[in-house]
């Protein structure tokens, strides 16, 4: 069966528009704060639906490269567990630029879903 229509992204968009346009203006201050959080959560879920799979597959590829002998069928969680164990046990050099590069990229890709503004404002700040 092809994906149903409206798509999940379209549904999220219309719910968000409804909350922003029709619900938010009618709310008292304390609930309005909660409603804004709900709207932000929907935006996060939307970004995860849109970018998550590609981002996790890039993370998987980087992890397989770092771990060398990793089983290609291992789950992302299992690969992360393996790398985490190596870091904890001191089996991998924590100053290794390839490791640090991977971790930075992974955190950046998670932020691109959870809060892209965090990356933007840090670029503006430069080294602050």
């Amino acid at each position: 069966m092809p994906p149903s229509r409206p798509t999940a992204l379209e549904l999220l968009d219309v719910v968000r528009e409804f909350l922003e346009g029709d619900v938010l203006p009618r709310l008292a201050a304390d609930v309005r704060f909660q409603c804004r959080i709900a709207i932000n959560v929907l935006a996060t879920v939307r970004r995860e639906l849109e970018f998550g799979a590609a981002s996790w597959s890039r993370e998987r590829a980087r992890l397989a490269g770092l771990l060398g002998d990793a089983d290609p069928d291992e789950s992302l969680e299992a690969l992360n567990r393996q790398l985490a164990r190596q870091i904890r046990e001191g089996a991998i050099d924590v100053d290794d630029p390839a490791l640090l590069g991977h971790l930075r990229r992974t955190v950046e890709e998670a932020l691109a879903i959870n809060n892209p503004k965090w990356l933007e404002s840090s670029r503006e700040e430069g080294s602050a």
Partner: protein, 336 residues
């Protein structure tokens, strides 16, 4: 603990008996619903005067006996009041404690303090025009206040737990381990802080959550320092580092709470007798602060899984754990 229905009655009796009649209570509202305590705001009539007050009540922590979160410092009720009163004697701006609840008051544990007007929301303190002057002087105020807190006698507060950097790293590590949620960046951060935890530092009373968002601010600057719940005895530089964690800048451009400069904080701290400040020592605590906040975000984001609080706000915070992790990695890149 009293519920909303009999709280006004209990408060009126309490105020009439201990502050003076008639003790009428007006405008009773619950302020922040924190995980560890409840804060109520109200106005009390005593004689012809109306006194703006808050009631601070500890909320019992619903944790299993083996939960590693039980090892976090936790100052509540009578101990909280004793610490706030001691801070006032040390010249720290805090709300004046009016009375500590006794068993015969029938209101559980807690205390009444004066309600201080002002802004507590970090983002407003950073952005609003009315705090422009305050922002210019708050870093120095923080330095002076911290020097006074760190001069308080730890032995006067026997309920405080003692935690040096290594012990605190261990506590957070155990909390992190209990999540069973593999994130190599967090494991790397724990290795980094464990290898660099400062040893044999000065031992002082540490506020523990001294940051933008826990201050009551007016146009003239900081009016009061709040939230002493995780105070402990430890390395005083922890407070300076935590104040500079990017999360507590609320989008502001400057490193100290978003409002000020490190040089002003350090100069005021040293001048007020806090002792010489080593920038690298503070930066350890800023980096560890990022890691702690990352773990705390994860903790809030999954407390519903442990049968704890299930709230939209808490769960949304769970998705913020990468923000301080990103900042940690950025600090690491600059320090090497």
């Amino acid at each position: 603990m009293s519920d909303l229905l009999d709280l006004p009655t209990g408060l009126r009796r309490l105020i009439a008996a201990r502050l003076g009649p008639p003790g009428t209570v007006e405008n009773l509202v619950r302020l922040t619903g924190g995980a560890t305590r409840a804060t109520w705001s109200f106005d009390a009539r005593v004689g012809d005067a109306t006194i703006p007050l808050v009631l601070q009540q500890p909320v019992p922590r619903a944790l299993r006996p083996d939960d590693p979160m039980l090892r976090l410092p936790h100052v509540a009720g009578e101990a909280d009041a004793a610490l706030v009163m001691g801070a006032a004697r040390a010249g720290v701006p805090v709300p004046r404690v009016r009375l500590v609840l006794e068993p015969e008051d029938d209101l559980g544990a807690g205390y009444l303090a004066d309600r201080i007007d002002g802004e507590t929301l970090g983002a407003r303190i950073i952005r609003d025009q009315r705090f422009a002057h305050a922002r210019g002087i708050m870093a120095a105020q923080c330095g002076e206040i911290l020097a006074r807190i760190h001069a308080m006698e730890p032995e006067a507060y026997p309920f405080l737990v003692e935690q040096d950097a290594a012990a605190e790293v261990q506590v957070y590590r155990e909390i992190w381990d209990s999540f069973d949620h593999p994130q190599p960046a967090i494991d790397l951060a724990f290795r980094w802080v464990a290898e660099r935890a400062p040893k044999r530092t000065r031992r002082a009373l540490v506020h523990g959550d001294f940051r933008n968002g826990n201050f009551i601010v007016g146009a003239e600057g900081i009016r009061a320092v709040l939230d002493w719940e995780i105070a402990h005895v430890g390395d005083p530089m922890a407070d300076l580092g935590w104040l500079c964690v990017r999360t507590w800048r609320f989008g502001g451009p400057n490193p100290v709470g978003g409002f000020g400069h490190r040089e002003d904080l350090v100069a005021a701290y040293e001048q007020a007798g806090g002792g010489r400040v080593d920038a690298e020592h503070v930066s350890f605590w800023e980096a560890f602060g990022c890691l702690k906040w990352s773990v705390m975000c994860l903790m809030k984001g999954q407390s519903h899984r442990r049968g704890g609080l299930r709230s939209l706000e808490q769960m949304a915070i769970g998705r913020r754990s990468e923000e301080p992790l990103y900042d940690f990695l950025a600090l690491l890149g600059r320090r090497g």
